[in-house]
């Protein structure tokens, strides 16, 4: 039994249960806003306006005519900016209608210039066409519709000009004495006009078609470029629900709903909305043929493809794969090469995400995309190839050349998004190679680049992934140089731009954790570093394991650390993660040192050196050289150590982090110390060593790395002692003592660590 009240009336205007308001085939509808525009046009044709003002008004007409419906306050303000006199006249005219009777509105429509005869608004001109449309639409309205229009005009007017009625007489006076001057008039009514309720046009309930479209377009743009400026997810959802309640056929709202729920990682609602959108889209395109370029066959293919991308986003690779296969199959069946190309580029992305090698697929994709003139897909493919190449150790110039070539393509087609990605990629590549200055320079370039796209909706800086990557790199670079203040600032900005719930927030979260971890390790506060490990592990499993091993090593739990490092090495060799392999090798060598087993570490170090040289990873290569030099020193060949060290010293001082610099200098000093006894100019050597240690001490003190500082002071004290400089020796000893007391932990044997 249906609800008691539902079936009371029979509505003749419904077909398929949908009310077709558009029964008369009218595309344009007369709205109160359109009446305002009409009255503006009327004023412009009838009254005399200064040439300059007229020009400004003429420029205004098109956007007003074709833009979304504005509130009366906004409308009058825009007009007033061009010509206050006309704005006033328009307002008077609207007032006459709104506060008068229905006949006033009817009278207005009869007095409108008829473009068929009037010369000023020629019938085929934009204005003429508009007026004719409006007249036609108005004339087709039924009696009750006219009455309704009048009601809504009254409502519209009183919404826009709330207190206008009271000042009616004054206005009339001024309008008769226009000669008194615009200025006074303006003063008079400006506070009135502008006291429009400045609420968001969205929250006022029903929107017109254009307003709704504008709202959707704006929110979608903001979601893509800077979702902080878009409405909060909950709020947006509310608005969309509202919109869908009023018009369930507004398919785009479902799509925005999908984007919005992606924002909050809600797989249920996003799947639901996506499918709903495509169900609706299929309807709207139903006239088309099922397998051509147009028509609903096309939207079917893209529906499947979108579903694949959705699953990919949520990390359901198997499901994504199935959806993609389906999209590929139907695209193949209907010979849609463009769609196939999109599928192909998703296919290699998926392969890459699953961790398998997809360079062949990618190359194919690039070739095909170039063939079908799809520059976006082509350069996306190239960028993906560059990324793979970088990981596989392709030579730097090839990569840079490829990036440069795509950049030309981007600028040609103004694909600003890809330009950003390309820059971000360059930053990452430079960082990987250990060229911090270049990376920094590129990062600045990206951050200072003004967007190519017209600055819409007040978006100054985008919050795309590229920016997140650049900022993270910048933060790490600052941290390496011990500039923690700068790092904090950057993270503050990142937190604002990419709030924790957003998609790219994971990037800076991991980066932040890594920096904190490094800092605590440098400070020797292992108990503080340890709780960070699970957090890192949650973000990135490999990185987490590596960090765990490091903490265990520092806590002298050697066996456990060794086991983890072995596991990690096997894993990384499988996933071909070269950087981590090298770092693991270095850590393993360090573990061997702990047990004074220096020679066992040597082959590991040599392996690391080969790997890092092969992949052009300069920073890691220098660090490996440091390790090698240290081993040699320990094995009792300081001359060799020193010469090896010299090879690494230059790049480290140029590009390396402050910690590496300090360590390198300290090692150099120790080598020099070892040579003091053997060299004839022993005293000089010792003085040089003291000087080097001073430099190292300055680096360590910027990092506030007290443990190493203590070592430095100890060495200095010994050197001074050997030179017989008692005063200096005592000073160094005192400094050492102070640090020792402060640290409270027993000093690890200096010789055992780098």
């Amino acid at each position: 039994m249906a609800s008691v009240h539902e079936s009371l009336y029979f509505n003749p205007m419904m077909t398929n249960g949908v009310v077709h308001a558009n029964v008369f085939g009218i595309k344009d509808w007369v709205t109160p806003y359109k009446i305002s525009v009409l009255s503006l046009l009327y004023e412009m044709t009838t009254s005399k306006i200064a040439l300059q003002e007229k020009r400004r008004l003429n420029k205004l007409i098109l956007p007003l005519q074709q833009g979304p419906d504005l509130q009366l306050g906004q409308f009058l303000k825009t007009v007033e900016d061009c010509c206050p006199q006309t704005a006033f006249a328009v307002k008077i005219r609207l007032n006459e209608m709104a506060d008068g009777e229905l006949k006033d509105m009817e009278f207005f429509f009869t007095t409108l210039p008829n473009p068929t005869f009037d010369s000023e608004a020629y019938k085929t001109s934009v204005v003429g066409l508009f007026i004719r449309h409006m007249l036609l639409a108005y004339n087709k309205l039924s009696f009750s519709q006219v009455y309704k229009l009048y009601k809504s005009l009254q409502h519209y007017y009183h919404m826009g000009v709330p207190t206008f009625v009271a000042d009616d007489s004054d206005m009339d006076l001024t309008s008769t004495e226009v000669t008194i001057g615009d200025k006074m008039e303006r003063e008079l009514d400006s506070p009135l006009t502008f006291c429009v309720r400045n609420e968001d046009p969205v929250s006022r309930g029903p929107l017109s078609q254009k307003q709704a479209e504008y709202f959707l377009a704006k929110q979608a743009y903001l979601l893509k470029n800077d979702d902080n400026k878009a409405l909060r997810p909950a709020k947006l959802q509310e608005e969309l629900n509202n919109m869908l309640k009023f018009n369930p056929d507004f398919a785009e709202a479902h799509y925005l709903n999908y984007l919005n729920s992606m924002r909050v990682q809600d797989i249920y609602i996003s799947t639901h909305s996506l499918l709903h959108y495509f169900d609706r889209l299929i309807l709207s395109g139903s006239e088309g043929k099922s397998n051509g370029d147009e028509g609903y066959g096309r939207s079917l293919r893209y529906a499947a493809l979108n579903l694949a991308s959705l699953h990919c986003r949520f990390g359901h690779y198997q499901l994504a794969d199935l959806a993609l296969q389906e999209a590929i199959r139907i695209a193949q069946e209907s010979n849609d090469h463009v769609c196939l190309q999109h599928c192909l580029s998703w296919l290699y992305t998926l392969e890459q995400m699953k961790g398998s090698d997809s360079s062949v697929l990618t190359e194919d994709s690039v070739k095909m995309a170039a063939h079908f003139c799809l520059p976006y897909l082509a350069s996306l493919g190239i960028q993906s190839l560059v990324q793979q190449g970088a990981v596989q150790g392709k030579s730097a110039h090839e990569l840079m050349d490829a990036l440069k070539d795509t950049d030309i393509l981007h600028w040609k087609h103004s694909l600003s998004e890809l330009i950003e990605i390309s820059l971000a990629q360059t930053i990452s590549i430079w960082r990987m190679y250990g060229k911090s200055t270049m990376a920094q320079q590129q990062a600045q370039l990206l951050l200072n680049m003004s967007s190519l796209e017209p600055v819409n909706f007040g978006v100054t800086q985008n919050n795309t992934e590229a920016f997140a990557v650049a900022l993270c790199h910048l933060a790490e670079l600052h941290a390496e140089q011990g500039l923690y203040g700068g790092t904090t600032e950057i993270f503050k900005h990142l937190k604002e731009q990419f709030p924790p719930h957003t998609q790219h927030a994971k990037l800076w979260m991991l980066c932040d954790l890594k920096i904190q971890f490094e800092k605590h390790m440098n400070d020797g506060k292992y108990h503080l570093a340890q709780p960070l490990v699970p957090a890192i592990r949650a973000q990135n499993k490999t990185e987490g394991l590596y960090r765990k091993a490091q903490v265990l090593k520092s806590l002298s739990r050697t066996t456990e650390a060794y086991r983890i490092l072995q596991k990690l090495q096997v894993h990384c060799e499988k996933t071909r993660c070269t950087e981590t392999i090298i770092r693991v090798l270095l850590s393993t060598a360090e573990l061997h040192w702990e047990s004074s087993d220096f020679s066992t570490g040597l082959p590991l170090l040599l392996q690391a050196l080969t790997l890092s040289r092969k992949h052009h990873l300069q920073a890691l290569a220098s660090r490996t050289l440091l390790h090698l030099a240290f081993t040699q020193l320990m094995l009792g060949v300081p001359e060799q150590a020193l010469s090896v060290l010299h090879e690494a010293l230059e790049p480290i001082l140029a590009h390396g982090g402050i910690m590496d610099k300090g360590r390198a200098l300290m090692l150099a000093a120790r080598c020099q110390m070892a040579l003091v006894a053997t060299r004839p100019n022993g005293r000089e050597q010792a003085a040089v060593a003291i000087h080097t240690l001073d430099e190292a001490a300055s680096y360590f003190s910027t990092l506030n790395c007290k443990e190493r500082l203590r070592d430095v002071r100890y060495l200095q004290a010994r050197l001074h002692s050997s030179l017989g400089q008692t005063a200096q020796r005592n000073r160094c000893a005192m400094l050492f003592h102070l640090l020792d007391r402060e640290l409270q932990t027993p000093r690890a044997p200096t010789d055992m660590r780098l």
């Binding site: 008691v4 539902e6 509505n11 039924s142 018009n247 169900d279 309807l283 395109g285």
Partner: protein
């Protein structure tokens, strides 16, 4: 109205034993509702009252006590009621505005509400733009709510006005408040079926139902039975209805129709058909629920009966949603899908919120291969009721036809979620997984479909074939055996039975496993079926050859081989289970 509290007390005290009392209550509530223009509640109560024995003359409840206020308002009320009956709601409200009696107040508010509803419906035609069409709303609702809530707070509302207040709240989407008010209304006036019915529409799950504190009255049993049906808890509903029948409502057409609908929901077609036939006998001019009846006839492909029903209903009233649905089903059964779709469309014109018609129209478009229109229809159905599993299932089928097995998984899953124990969704899911070469999932689905009671008896066959493909020979054989058992145990002849496939496979299977006796038995059975006869014979020959090689051929087999042309003695199909390992 002074009678109301008395009525309430009586209702609360009485039990089913006292049918006379119930009858009295019904008679008084009928006149109360009639005065207030609540036609549907009157109809329901009258139907029930009709099912009970007539009262002797002296037992008839006295006509209502008339209060001072009622006397004052008598003329105005009579005038307004006549306008109200003529659907001149504004006019009725105008003449009632000064009245003080509760009865007049209710009619006053109700006229205003209905006037608003009427205007809303008229407005939709006159809207100014495409986006405005959803924006027309009943302007009276807000004012009504303000006034009613004021009175509600003061505790001045009687059962009927509470009901109206609830309706207003529901229309304003204030569902939580609406439920509270309806519960209150049922407490004040338990006999008004309208409040219960509204409550039925608002209660979405069993937890919510349990949390409501409802008055204990005989009418509550009707409510519970109704809501159990709505929430697809059919066994509970059937039990309730059964106890109602036993309590003395056996003649009630309402209960019979409800039971029939319940049987329809659990797809117990024969029971439902029997009940509907009984219903038609008792109430030959009934149109309500006849669409459900026609669905059943359709499922059973009973053309003449459906045709008779359609013609009969057209004679009664051709402009009814149910009639249109019946005719739609009739045309659909005759494979005239365009006409069927036309009639479903007409049904929707008559009532756009008619859920069944949307889904059925979707089915028709599917038959016509007009997938996009089908999707549209199904989507509309879902919009009206998100819990309509048939629409979800239909969407899934549409995408399956469009060869998008992965895409339709989502829809089938939705349908399965709504009907976890319906094998059809599970089989559909299994087929999709099979197409996606997700055999493990597919096998799970088929097995589950069999476990929940397979309607179409296809799940096992599909499972067996899948296992055959995966060369899980033992499992496949097992599935085939259960399949054959199932087919023969259900007795009736089903279409698309593939016993021969199963037998053929089993024969080969036993042959390979050197179980020659079983193999030959299967092979002989194969010969009963046209499509497998040759293979059966071939297998028999093979068996005899192998047996010749290994041992001396047994006499009886030789006999059966030699007179191949004579029909082999048919063993009862049920005996087949004897050779299961």
């Amino acid at each position: 109205c002074l009678i109301t509290p008395n009525l309430k007390m009586a209702a609360l005290c009485s039990e089913f034993g006292d049918l006379v009392q119930i009858k009295k209550q019904l008679i008084s509530v009928i006149s109360l509702c009639k005065e207030r223009g609540l036609v549907h509640s009157v109809k329901w109560a009258s139907e029930l009252a009709f099912a009970l024995d007539p009262l002797p003359k002296d037992e008839l409840p006295p006509s209502h006590l008339v209060s001072e206020e009622d006397v004052q308002d008598l003329d105005a009320f009579a005038l307004a009621k006549s306008y109200f009956d003529l659907k001149e709601y504004d006019r009725a409200a105008y003449f009632l505005r000064g009245c003080h009696s509760k009865k007049a107040y209710f009619l006053y508010m109700y006229s205003r509400y209905l006037s608003g509803e009427k205007k809303k419906d008229d407005e939709t035609v006159d809207s100014l733009g495409p986006l405005e069409k959803g924006q027309v709303r009943n302007e009276a609702l807000r004012e009504l709510r303000v006034e009613l809530s004021k009175k509600h707070r003061a505790g001045e509302l009687d059962g009927f006005t509470l009901y109206l207040y609830g309706v207003v709240l529901r229309k304003l989407d204030l569902l939580k408040e609406a439920v509270e008010v309806f519960v209150e209304a049922t407490h004040t006036l338990p006999l008004h079926w309208g409040s219960w019915l509204e409550l039925c529409n608002l209660v979405t799950n069993i937890e919510m139902l349990k949390s409501l504190s409802l008055p204990s009255c005989w009418i509550k049993d009707f409510f519970m039975a109704h809501i159990y049906t709505e929430l697809q808890m059919i066994p509970g509903a059937l039990q309730k209805y059964q106890s109602l029948i036993e309590a003395g409502f056996s003649k009630s057409t309402y209960i019979i129709s409800q039971i029939a609908v319940a049987y329809h929901n659990i797809r117990d077609i024969d029971q439902a058909l029997a009940l509907f036939n009984e219903l038609r006998e008792q109430d030959p001019y009934r149109i309500e629920n006849m669409d459900t009846f026609s669905n059943l006839l359709y499922v059973k492909s009973m053309k003449p009966e459906l045709s008779y029903l359609a013609h009969n209903l057209v004679e009664i009233d051709k402009y009814r949603v149910e009639t249109c649905c019946v005719i739609g089903n009739y045309y659909s059964l005759r494979s005239q899908h365009e006409k069927a779709a036309l009639y479903f469309q007409r049904a929707l014109k008559l009532n756009p919120r008619c859920l069944g018609a949307w889904t059925l129209m979707g089915h028709e478009y599917m038959e016509m291969k007009n997938t996009s229109a089908a999707i549209q229809a199904y989507r509309h159905a879902i919009e009206v009721n998100k819990r309509d599993y048939r629409a979800w299932y239909g969407l899934g089928q549409t995408y399956e036809i469009l060869k998008m097995p992965f895409y339709c998984l989502y829809y089938y899953r939705k349908a399965h979620q709504l009907r976890p124990n319906d094998s059809r969704m599970l089989v559909a899911l299994g087929e999709c997984y099979e197409k996606l070469s997700q055999q493990v999932e597919a096998k799970k689905c088929y097995w589950r479909a069999f476990s929940v009671g397979d309607v179409e008896k296809m799940a096992l066959l599909k499972l067996a074939k899948l296992q055959e493909q995966l060369t899980e020979t033992d499992e496949a054989a097992q599935s085939y055996i259960i399949y054959i058992q199932e087919i023969f145990s259900c007795g009736e002849q089903l279409e698309h039975v593939e016993v021969s496939t199963a037998l053929r496979y089993l024969g080969q299977y036993y042959f390979k496993n050197k179980l020659y006796d079983e193999a030959s038995l299967c092979a002989q059975r194969c010969c009963d079926y046209n499509d497998a006869r040759e293979e059966g014979k071939a297998l028999l020959r093979q068996i005899s050859q192998v047996r010749d090689q290994t041992e001396t051929p047994s006499g009886e087999l030789f006999v059966s081989l030699s007179d191949n042309n004579t029909p082999i003695k048919r063993v009862s199909p049920l005996n087949l289970s004897s050779f299961t390992p």
